[in-house]
Each structure stands twice: as C-alpha cells, then as structure tokens.
C-alpha cells in the first residue's frame, strides 16, 4: 500500500512538471497511476498492516479496499475523459497535479485506521480539491471558501474527538480505541462519536451541512465535479461506515425503535431530511449540474440510512448504494461535461434536442439516470431494493415515506435534464454541434457497461460487501449467484434481465411486422393548425415542474441562514475594527478599564 | 338607470359643443344616442373634448363608403359608462385620396381599428406608422374588398374555380319561386 501512496504523491509532482511541456500528459499520468494502483490493490489481501515512511499506520480493511477500488474506477474514467477535455482549461498543470494529489489523499484515507494519519490524508484531499474548484468559473471562488469552511467544521470536530480519545487511551488506533470505548462515561462517548460523525456528515453533504454542495458541484470545472460528487463525497460515507461498524454502536447506545439504537435513529432521521431536501430542491433547479448536486445530497441520505440500519440487508444496501451512486454520478457528470464541452452552457432551458447530435452522451446519461433512479436492469435498483426490504422488515414507516418520496422524486428530477437537454427541439444555435471525440466517449461507454454488468451479475461487488460485513461482525448478506435472498423474500437479477430481454423482443417483433413509419424531420410537428417557423420556442424546458414547484415555493433556505450567520460574525469583527481605529485616548481608556477589572477581579 | 340629472349634463355638453366648435351639427337619434357630424379639421378636438366629458370608451372606428358622393364617412362611436349615452361622431373624407389623422394617442386601441379600416377601405392615417401592415386578410393584393367599386363575385369567379353544372340550378330555383317564367325539363 505504501508504494501506491508514494507513487501517487511523486506522480503529482511529475504530473505538474510533465504537463508544463504538453498539457495532455497530466491526465495520462493520472490514468497510469490509477490503473497501477488498481492492479496492485487487487492482489493485496484485506487487513494487511504496512508501515508508511517508518510509522506502521497503514491497515487495509475490506471496507477500505472496496472504497479504494471504487474511487480508482472513478478516477480512471475521469482521467481518460480529461485527456481531451484538458484543452478547455486555462491552468492545466496545476489542475493535473492537484487531481493526482486528491487521488493520493483519498487512497491514504482508505488505507489507514490510525486517526491522525486519516486526518492528515483527509486534510490533504480537502486542500488539494479546494484549489481545483475555482479553476473554471469565477463565481466558484466563494463556493470554494464555503466548501473548505464547512468541511473544516467536520474535520476539526474529528480532530477534537481524536485528541480527546488520545488523552484517554494514549493511542490513535481506531480498532484499539473501539475495544475499550465503553469505559468512558456516557456523555463523553456521545461527544466523541457525534463529533467524529460530523466529519463524515459534512463531507458527504448530509442535511445540516449540505449547503456547500450546490455551489461547489455546480460551479467546479465540469469533469472535476464528477470526481467531487462521485468520489470525494464517498469519503464522508466511508468515514460514517467505518465508525458505525468499528464502534460497538449497538451495545453502547440503548435500543430505540424497530431494532435500531438511538444514534442510528438520529442518523436515519438526518438521512430522511437530506433525502427530502435533496429531492425537493433538485426538482426546482434549472442548472443541470446543481440539480445533480442536490441528487447527491439525496443519495448521501440514502447511503446514511442504509449504513445506519446496521443489519444484514440494510448495511449491505447502503454499501452497494455507495457503488451505484459513485458510478451513476460520474456517468451523469461526464455526460454533462461532454454537453458543456460542445455547447458551453449548463442551463437546461438554453439547450434542447441534443440527442440528434450527441447520441453516445445521451445513452450514457440515460443509463446513468436509470441507475440513479434505481430501475431494475441496472445496479441502482439492487441497493434501493435492499434498503426497502430492511426498512419494511423493521416496520419503520415514517422513514419509508421519505425513502419513497426520494425514490419517486428521483424519477422527476432526473427526467428534467433528459427532457430539457437531450430530447425536445434542437435549438438552432446548436444545429451543428458534433459528438464529443472518441477519447471522451470511451470512459462513458465503459461506465455504461459496468453499471449494466453489475446490475445483472452483482456477485463481485456483493463479495466485497459481505467481506466487509463479516469483518465487522455484522451477519453477512446471503446471495447465490444472481439470486439475492433476504428474510422478506428473494429475487433473481438474471431472470429479471432475461424476462426484460424477452419482453423487449416481443415488442420489437410487433414493431417490425407492422408497416414501417416514415422518418420525418423535427420541425414536422402537430402545432394545432398554426404555422410555426422558429422552432426554438417550441421546446418545453424552463420551469419544467412549475405546478409542483408552486406547492413548496417559499421554503426556508438553509444557505441564507448560514450566510446570515457569517454576516453576524463579520459584524462582530466590524465592531472590533471600529474599536481599533479610535484615537490614542481611547486606547488609554481601555487600559484603564483593564486595570479596573484587575483591581476588582484580584 | 337614467337619472334625470344626466339629461342636464347632456344638454349642457351639446350646447357647449355648438359654441366651442362651429360647423358641428348634432342630431338626437334616441334618448341614449346622439349623432355628431364634424368637419375633418374639427374631429380630433371634438373627440378629445368628449373624452374629458366621460365618453372615454371608443367602442369602434369604422368607415362607410358613399360612392355616389365620392366620400368616405369615418365613424367614431363613443360610449359613456357612467350615463350609458352613446355619441356617434362622424366626419367625411375625400374618397379618391382618403387621408386622415390618427387618434392613436387618445385611444391606443384605435391603432388596430385604423389598420382594419386601411385594409378594407384604403384610408391612410398619418401618425400611425404601421397602419399599412395587413391585419386580417392574408396575402391580399387586390382593391380593398369592402369598397363599393370592388366586385366580390368577379373576384370569386377568378380565384376560386366553381363546379360546372350542366344545368343552371339557381335559374331553375327562380322559376320554381316564380320570379322568372320558364320550363324546368325534369
């Protein structure tokens, strides 16, 4: 493991230097590193301990291996896509170097259970990704500052808990700490666990700390938002998964309802609210990248609920959803990057009918949203099915409402870009838009194959998940080949796929025997008898769900709350500034006040 | 709702009309309707005067083709929502070169009435820059259709081919009705 990390760090410096000569070398290096890391990592058996520059801190759990492999897939797709996309950037060398550094940081986080080392790699990733965010759009600067501050709230809470634990047990190793965590008094346990989880919650964009997600994913350089929401958010989920599984949560905290302890219940409720907020806000968005950013909030909520259930089916569902959302979010953002590469705008109502010019991008987006929305032939459905099964078997109906609203709501908001950007009338401005170059299409097609393959044969991913569950003592999820078995019932992905193919075949036969339809141009529409010459107007995309948005139009916005909080702090600073620029006599007066205080407070 | 006070208001308007604008003749059609004929140069002031007096609603601006006297009569129908009284103000314009002034600045809707009148009668309105634009008829290239000297039947025959009947059914119908004498051969 150590040499993977070293290669990555040295690679980032090499990336910087090489891309000075030729900007495309950077992504190639990133690709080589991630492939090399993938190959090396595949062989390393789980829970091997290694030392890193002399300190034996690296310890590979199956959970860490699973997340690391997943992030390597995302990074390699990102790298291939970047080889051509890098042309649009003004500062490519810094971009390449920092993205390799982000990879190094994330791998570091996954490879260690030592709290300080985890914190170090965590901060490394945050600061490496921070400087990439404002690289394309100028208004992303403010978003970057928000991103760092909110993530820092989480990581400083984590640091506080680490030192608190260190002062009690004189060790930073998580496994050891978890073993004798129960000796601490109740309130300290609560304080430690909650502050550690805030780091995970802040990074994975769950409800209270999700405010930065919209701006950062919306305004970051296009391909980087794929990594941001596909992979960096997963670091937060990894931390939550690690903490929930390592700390004996079920024994520490009293049982609350439906076989779930109080801490998981609170986490589930956080997940619920973030699903609701994510879905409702996503439906409103007109900028497609911000829309998917909010879907990331909703899906992080899903993952949190899955993980917090901590039982055989729910935990497996949460972990599988991590895989699905990572792949789906990457696919969707890469297809958006392709669209922006060709058209230059991310606003849905300015685009339209791009399917006729960019079919491959459309197919990627389509399979991406099918997996994101959780529809059977793709892997998205399996994880949602597991979470539903676990929730139903426990009878937690209030959570189910949020989960169902989330899953049905996901049909709504994924359909908005589909209809607004790809289908409908092709705008005259984009008449001559061509498909993106081959190199960009390769990662998209690869991800499509991955999603569909794992949708039908989820064996390989389930193997990792079962390994992780066994490692932390949760009873493993049973499955035989493609048949997924739970207490509430089972189904077989292969048979569903075959039946879907059979159905498709029957429909195709019916389609072929009947007389062939004649192809007519996009302009030949039923316009209820009126002659229309400017078909740009004949495209329904802006305020797509106007009637639904009116229902919850005036909702309280958390962003304004946070902004007003910051302004309050700044006004306090203004007071200080006022004090400072007074005359010398005022200073002496202050000196007098202090003396008085001294005299009294002696 | 015709309260007596309105009459006095009415009388007073009519009388002040005569004093202020000479050459204006008013004629009572019925208790709620008066016809005012004004010379062309007095029309706009009269209209403004009446508008202040509460006749704020220009319900229609049309044109009547007196082909005999070679005149177009421009008719402005004003209606007072307060008292329910209608004033029909009309003025005569020369038929061969019909030009008049726009009332667009008094009533914005008049712009479309003027376009309509121009399309069907050919009256030009100075001050209304798009009164030449077509409003209702699509691709019309003949004489304005509502002028008396335009023959619609001949236009219909020329543009829209008719069905050739072996026998003249209309002539037979006249015979049946007895207007014309003649035989119907079965």
């Amino acid at each position: 493991m150590q040499n993977i990390l070293l290669v990555a760090i040295i690679g980032s410096v090499a990336g910087y230097l090489l891309s000075l000569f030729y900007r495309r070398l950077g992504p190639i290096i990133l690709l080589l590193i991630s492939l090399y890391a993938f190959a090396m990592l595949w062989e390393i058996p789980s829970n091997t301990a290694e030392n890193f520059l002399g300190y034996d801190v690296l310890y590979l759990t199956t959970l860490g291996k699973y997340f690391a492999l997943l992030s390597l897939i995302v990074f390699s797709a990102y790298a291939i896509f970047n080889i051509v996309w890098i042309e649009t950037l003004k500062t490519p060398h810094a971009f390449n170097a920092l993205s390799i550094l982000t990879l190094a940081g994330t791998l570091g986080v996954f490879f260690t259970t030592n709290l300080v080392v985890l914190y170090i790699f965590w901060e490394l990733t945050v600061f490496a990704s921070l400087f990439i965010v404002p690289m394309s759009k100028s208004e992303a600067k403010r978003a970057a500052v928000w991103y760092v501050t909110i993530t820092a709230i989480g990581s400083f809470a984590f640091l506080f808990a680490t030192f608190l634990l260190y002062s009690k047990f004189y060790t930073f190793d998580l496994v050891e700490i978890s073993r004798n965590l129960s000796q601490l008094p109740k309130p300290t346990i609560w304080l430690v666990v909650c502050s550690m989880l805030t780091a995970g919650i802040a990074k994975s964009g769950v409800f209270p700390l999700h405010v930065w997600l919209r701006n950062v994913h919306g305004k970051a350089p296009d391909t980087f938002s794929a990594v941001l929401s596909g992979q960096l958010v997963k670091m937060g989920s990894y931390l939550i998964a690690l903490l929930l599984s390592i700390f004996p949560v079920t024994t520490l905290f009293p049982h609350f309802y439906g076989g779930v302890n109080i801490l998981s219940y609170i986490l589930i409720w956080l997940g619920n609210v973030s699903i609701l907020v994510g879905t409702l806000m996503a439906i409103k968005q007109n900028d497609m990248k911000m829309l998917i950013a909010f879907s990331t909030v909703a899906n992080s909520g899903y993952i949190l609920i899955g993980l917090a259930l901590l039982d055989q089916v729910g935990f497996a569902g949460g972990l599988f959803h991590v895989f699905n959302h990572a792949i789906a979010a990457t696919m969707i953002f890469l297809s958006f990057a392709a669209v922006v590469y060709r058209t230059g705008t991310t606003k849905i109502d300015e685009l339209g009918g791009l399917i006729h010019r960019m079919p491959v991008t459309f197919i990627t987006y389509l399979v991406g949203i099918i997996s994101l929305a959780g529809i059977p032939p793709t892997s998205g459905f399996i994880s949602k099915w597991m979470i539903f099964q676990s929730l139903v078997s426990r009878g937690m109906f209030v959570t189910e409402i949020f989960v169902f609203v989330g899953s049905i709501g996901s049909f709504l908001y994924v359909f908005r870009p589909l209809a607004g950007v790809f289908l409908g009338q092709l705008k005259s401005k984009y008449k001559d838009v061509r498909e993106v170059p081959i190199i960009m299409q390769i990662p998209m097609i690869l991800l499509v194959l991955v999603t569909v393959f794992f949708g039908v044969f989820p064996g390989q991913v389930l193997e990792f998940i079962v390994g992780a569950q066994k490692e932390f003592g949760i009873d493993a999820f049973q499955y035989e080949g493609t048949k997924l078995i739970t207490s509430m019932g089972y189904w077989d992905t292969w048979i569903v796929f075959v039946m879907f193919a059979v159905g498709f075949l029957i429909a195709a036969v019916l389609y072929l025997i009947t007389p062939k339809g004649k192809k007519i141009p996009l302009e030949d529409q039923y316009t209820s008898g009126e002659f229309l010459h400017n078909f740009d107007l004949y495209h329904y995309a802006s305020r797509f769900y106007a009637f639904l948005e009116r229902e919850y139009g005036d909702h309280p916005s958390l962003e304004n709350l946070y902004a007003s909080l910051v302004n309050a702090l700044k006004s306090l600073g203004k007071g200080i500034d006022y004090l400072v620029s007074r005359t010398a006599s005022a200073y002496v007066f202050w000196l007098g006040v202090i003396l008085l205080l001294l005299w009294k407070g002696w | 709702m015709m309260s007596s006070t309105n009459n006095i208001g009415l009388e007073e308007i009519l009388s002040s009309l005569n004093q202020l604008f000479e050459g204006v003749s008013t004629e009572k059609v019925d208790p709620r309707q008066y016809k005012i004929i004004t010379p062309p140069e007095k029309t706009i002031p009269v209209l403004e005067f009446l508008k202040e007096k509460g006749y704020s609603h220009l319900s229609i601006l049309t044109c009547i083709d007196w082909i005999a006297e070679k005149k177009f009569e421009l008719v402005y129908i004003l209606f007072n929502w307060g008292t329910g009284v209608t004033f029909v103000v009309s003025t005569y314009v020369n038929r061969d070169n019909p030009i008049f002034y726009t009332v667009k600045h008094i009533w914005p809707t008049a712009e479309y009435y003027e376009r309509d009148v121009h399309e069907f009668f050919g009256v030009k309105f100075e001050g209304n820059e798009n009164c030449e634009k077509p409003l209702i008829l699509e691709l019309w290239n003949d004489l304005p259709p509502l002028r008396k000297d335009f023959d619609p039947l001949e236009y219909s025959k020329k543009h829209y081919p008719d069905r050739e009947y072996q026998k003249d059914a209309i002539h037979e119908a006249r015979i049946i009705r007895g207007d014309v004498r003649g035989e119907i051969d079965g």
Binding site: I355, I408, I495, L510, G517 | -
Partner: protein, 293 residues
C-alpha cells in the same frame, strides 16, 4: 418449457382479457350515458386497425422508447401472479414488480418527449408529478401489508388470503387507499390530467401516428392489467384462475363507473389530494397494523 408455456399463458390472458374488459368497460360507460356503446370487441379492432396504418417516426429514440415501454410492461406482466397461476413461483417480489413497471413508464416518457412536441413534455411532466402523488400512500399501505405478513412475496400473500379470508376485510382502510391510488395509476377520469385530450391534445400521445398508437394502446392495456391484478392479488385473495378474472372484472367495472361520472382534477389538486386524504388514511392503516394485529 413449462416456464415458457406459463409466460405465454399470462401474456395471452393479459392480451385477450385486457382488451375484452376494456370493451366491456366502454359499454358500461356508454350505458351510464344512456347510449348503447360499441361492441365488446371494439378495442381489438381499434388496436389492429392502428397497426395496419402507415405512420411516422421521429427518429430512433422515439422507436426505441415505444419498444422499451412495451417490452418493460410485458416483462413486468410475466412476474405478476394471476390468482394461483404464477409464471415464476418465488420471484414475484412486490418491489421488483413496482420498479420494473417504471421501466415501461420511463421508456414511454422518453419516447414521447423524443418526438420534440412540447405537448408531450407537459403531459409527461404531469404524469410524473401525479405518480409522485399516488405512489407514496400506495407504497405505504402495501408495505404495511407486507410488514404484517412478514413477506414481500405477492404469491405467498395470495395463499395466506385463501386460508384466512380476503385482506379487504382485514384491512378495509388499506384497501380504500389502494383503490384510490389505483384510480390514479390507471389514469382514469379524476386523475386524467396527464392525457387530457382537450387541454394538452392527449398529452404524451400527441405525436403517435398509426402503429405507435397501437403499440401504446396495447401497453396501456397491459399496464392496467398489471395494476389491477396486483390490487386483486393483495386485497381479494386466492382462488383459481377464473375466480381471479371475475374479481378483476368487478374491480375494473367499479373503477370505470367512478371514472364515467367524475370531472378531471388539476394536477396540483391531485397531488395535494393524494398527500392529504389517502396519506392520512394510510397512516391510520399503518398504526392499526403496527399496534393492532
């Protein structure tokens, strides 16, 4: 081979009985409006007529959408148990059916918006919003049922009902909520905003010329067949194949009668209605299930 025979059986029943019951439905609506109405086989003629016409296509996504829609619904159909006649005994998990069902819906939506006609996009947006409306109370009630019987396998629930009586008597409120949501799923009168002929020129179906209209009418029949058979399986219990068809007919006629007399909800009224009355009833049902039985 037995599986293929069973699948074919299910599909043919769906095709034949689906269209016949629709014909009967049209006759019942006509009777309500004091007129005779078309012969019972009118729907067969309509579908076959549209298949013989020469229509237009708007590009490959339109064809792919229509075929995917029909294919998806046929696939869902194979998993639905008709009384005790099941194509795949163990595999008819409720969530699989509901989500496989959305494959068809998404395929249709994608194909229709692919035509490029804004009427279609408005219709589909309305259909998805309505789905958000009726799906939540429906799933809550059904999951309360599943929680009660500790299984999410529909055919096992059918057997349990043949033993200790129909669920409609044990969970009357649940059945009521499920029926109201069924009315929304079928797209029948009170919730017909997505395919309103007068307002948005029959919504998604605006650009469907000849055979595509036929294929989608077939798909609509199969969708109705799936929805009602799930309702019958979950609430009207077991019994053999013919009893199932009889129960199916009664539920269908009842739905038709309601739709024949009611005007059309506006789309946000429909969602507002669904999220107040049925959701409240669903919660009462859930409370009963968790506390009571």
């Amino acid at each position: 081979m037995a599986v293929a025979a069973r699948v074919a059986g299910v599909l043919l029943t769906a095709f034949f009985f689906g269209l016949t019951f629709e014909g009967i439905g049209r006759k019942v609506t006509a009777r309500i409006q004091k007129r005779y109405g078309p012969p019972w086989y009118q729907n067969f003629i309509d579908v076959l007529k549209t298949l013989t016409k020469h229509g237009w296509t708007h590009g490959w996504i339109f064809d792919f959408g229509v075929v995917m829609a029909l294919g998806g619904v046929i696939a869902t159909l194979t998993f639905v148990p008709l009384g005790n006649f099941v194509a795949f005994p163990g595999l008819d998990n409720f969530f699989v059916i509901v989500y496989l069902f959305t494959v068809g819906a998404l395929g249709m939506a994608m194909g229709m918006v692919g035509t490029g006609n804004p009427w279609a996009s408005i219709g589909v947006a309305r259909a998805l919003t309505l789905m958000l409306g009726y799906e939540v109370p429906y799933l809550i009630v059904i999951t309360s049922l599943l929680y009660n019987f500790k299984t999410s396998n529909i055919s096992t629930i059918v057997e349990i009902q043949s033993v200790n009586g129909w669920n409609i008597f044990r969970f009357p409120i649940g059945a009521l909520v499920a029926f109201i949501c069924l009315q929304g799923m079928l797209g029948k009168e009170p919730f017909e905003a997505p395919i309103a002929p007068a307002e948005i020129a029959s919504g998604p179906m605006v650009e469907l010329s000849a055979k595509y209209m036929g294929l989608l009418m077939l798909m609509n029949t199969f969708m109705e067949f799936v929805e009602i058979s799930i309702f019958v399986d979950l609430f009207l219990g077991g019994g053999n194949y013919f009893e199932f068809l009889l129960k199916y007919l009664t539920v269908w006629i009842f739905a038709i009668m309601i739709s024949a007399v009611l005007p059309r909800f506006r789309i946000e009224q429909a969602v507002y209605f669904y999220w107040t009355v049925p959701l409240l009833l669903a919660f009462i049902q859930v409370f009963l299930v968790v506390a009571g039985m």
